[in-house]
């Protein structure tokens, strides 16, 4: 027999704020649970595995800092982090600068601006497997267009993707990645440009400011929030470079047995090869966390410097 008091105890609170809070938490609970199960648990598990040896088949064995010490001694890991830092140093400013330049050109009221925007965005939606083959063909030392042009211009040709120098291979990766990602930056910058009030530019014009002065003193400062966002996103994107390396290096070695020559390797490929090629899942998680720590430090630094140069409209 159910007593009447039970239902009265289950009744919702009378205040509107409390009711809204309950409904708010209630509605978001499934997604919070999903996030906890699908993100929170794997993150904690991954952090634990970074201090173990784990082959995926047997229970993890706690090894303390052994993986981290191995990371500091592993020539492949040191090369991987050096390579990705180099790629980021080229890719982040180049993509940001080029994206800004193209966005400014497209914002000049060109008739075919929409079409050009679509063209610039095309590489971003093309799969790396397809465009990677194109880049490999372009930079082929014997049959590639790049060397053919250089040869015709009596300039020295290069081995490019087959070069023994790590900075040549990674330089091509940075260029290819810039070409592929610049469309996104253009979209972000165009959106930023469209949000700049016309009155400001008109007022400057009335006051006698030329286009260059308006660009320098009005457009660029008001675009700094977009620029900041592009810089942060590009930094994160650089750290996640994976498929361009597989495609531009030929890929087979990495996926088969977990190794690439040191001039080609980056952290994501290293952790994939160690984890899924060789079954060293503990060490792979250590690499993943080391990469995360590096990227997080960079993003925090960017956030710290944000106040010095980013202008938000109040």
């Amino acid at each position: 027999m159910i007593r009447p008091g039970v239902f009265s105890a289950l009744r919702f609170p009378q205040s509107r704020a409390a009711r809204n809070a309950i409904w708010g938490y209630g509605l978001s609970l499934p997604f919070l649970i999903a996030a906890l199960v699908l993100v929170g648990v794997p993150v904690v598990w991954s952090a634990y595995l970074a201090f173990t040896t784990f082959d995926g088949f047997n229970p993890p064995q706690w090894t303390g800092l052994a993986n981290w010490l191995q990371l500091l001694r592993d020539p492949a890991a040191l090369s991987a982090f050096r390579n990705i830092a180099f790629v980021a140093l080229i890719f982040v400013p180049l993509q940001t600068g080029l994206g800004l330049l193209i966005a400014l050109l497209l914002h000049q009221g060109l008739r075919a601006a929409g079409l050009l925007r679509a063209i610039y965005f095309l590489p971003a939606i093309s799969p790396w497997m397809a465009v990677g083959i194109m880049w490999v063909a372009l930079f082929n030392p014997e049959y590639g267009v790049i060397n053919a042009i250089l040869h015709a211009a009596h300039l020295p040709t290069g081995l490019w993707l087959l070069s023994p120098h790590w900075y040549v291979f990674q330089g091509v990766v940075a260029l290819a990645n810039t070409w592929k990602g610049v469309g996104y930056c253009v979209v972000l910058f165009v959106a930023g440009l469209q949000s700049i009030p016309n009155e400001l530019l008109e007022a400057a014009e009335v006051d006698g400011a030329g286009r260059l002065r308006s660009l320098w003193h009005i457009t660029l400062p008001l675009l700094t929030p977009s620029t900041f966002m592009v810089l942060v996103l590009s930094t994160i994107a650089a750290s996640q470079i994976f498929d361009p390396i597989l495609v531009l290096s030929g890929g087979g070695v990495a996926t088969n047995i977990g190794g690439l020559p040191t001039q080609q390797i980056v952290p994501t490929v290293l952790l994939y090869g160690q984890g899924f090629g060789l079954g060293h899942l503990g060490y792979a998680n250590t690499v993943a966390w080391a990469l995360f720590i590096c990227v997080a430090a960079l993003v925090i630094l960017q956030r710290r410097l944000e106040g010095r140069w980013v202008h938000y409209e109040r």
Partner: protein, 437 residues
Amino acid sequence: LNWIPRSRAGFGIVKRAAVMVAAVALVAACGGTSAAGNGNAVATSSDQVSITIGIPLPSLDMPSPLLQQFEQSHPNIHVNTIETTWGDWPAKLQALNTAGQTPTVFMYDGGTVQGYGAEGLALNLKNFIKSSHLNQSEYIDLNYSQDSKGDIWGVPQGYQPVALAYNKTLFDQAGVSYPTDQWSWSAMINAATKLHQQTHTCGLITDHDITAGWLPFMWANGGVPFNQNVTKADFTSPLVEKGVQQWESLVQAGVICNESTIQANQNNLTTVFGKGMGAMMLMQYGQVGGVLKNFPSLNWDVTALPRGVVNEIPNIANPWVIYKHATPAQQRAGWTFLQWWLSPKTQDEYAADGLAIPALRSAGNYLPSTPAHLKQAFVTAPAQYGHTMYETSKWGDWEAVAEPIFLQIFEGQVGVKPGLQQVNTAVNGVLNGSSQG
């Protein structure tokens, strides 16, 4: 937007319904993943058992008529298959295992199988083989996956020996006699050099890996990179260095196709050969079908791989493995499948598919009839001179640290001597346990 209720009470009903739908969806999603995803689930009937077979392609034609025949002849065993490309298979297997969906039976590279045994993934088949009616003498080597302790971690799915493929048209153009199974290693190198000079193509196509790349060159020059038990590597010995130096010099001279030519053909060596860009190729048996299919008008043949000082031919078997943690019923069903695989009828039909040299010797009579000297090159000669690839439980790990450096040597990015020193240090690090690889 007429469906939105205007009263507060009505809005409450919508909210409650939304919460319930979301909760049900979440529970359903979580439940569905675990129930539907278990490929190893055993059927409810005690007589029925489901097994999952993992297949790295193209080791079988999928969908496989052979597997259909197995199911028809064994109605109590239901077969699910999981397949992916050869290169992606280790990652797929790792992911399946992490998800608790390891296939009951699966195959992969012969070099890695002892590692699966050491990791506790593979079932020891020693007692199964001992108590079976399989006649060892009828097979090339049923104990191929036996480790130093005598445990057997798989049975051969098929063999992939290396032979010498040659383009008759280019040989005719250069006025060079076709190779024979009596050719010496130096005769092959001399012919490759002449073919390169006369036809302006590569004289020889090699891989940059162990089987059809650096190891045959080491052996031909008398170099043996490991001690007998494969517990210590010696990649810096003068004879090993001589072999790799020969390989690298021929690449630099354009006699062996360089990486730039291979890359221009999507890293596919058979495409380089099929297009007539190379006169000869160190070809594994599994590559024959690709040439026949994609280049039907190519005028070519194969012969036994010439030998040098170490009179041996690389020959690797890719074994079937039974998952150690499958249920006993699944393990028995898996062994039933392996016995069926090794039976004469199945072996004959598999031979006719042309994907691998079957384990049963007599099935060699059913191999495809083209190219003309296929059987002599891929069966007769390997039976006489075939040698394994130093398989141990650490094969996968030392291979992983060695191959990137050999690739750099092949591409001319690292000199032979410093490269081999790097290989030696890295491989010994793996073998003595100071490095994971």
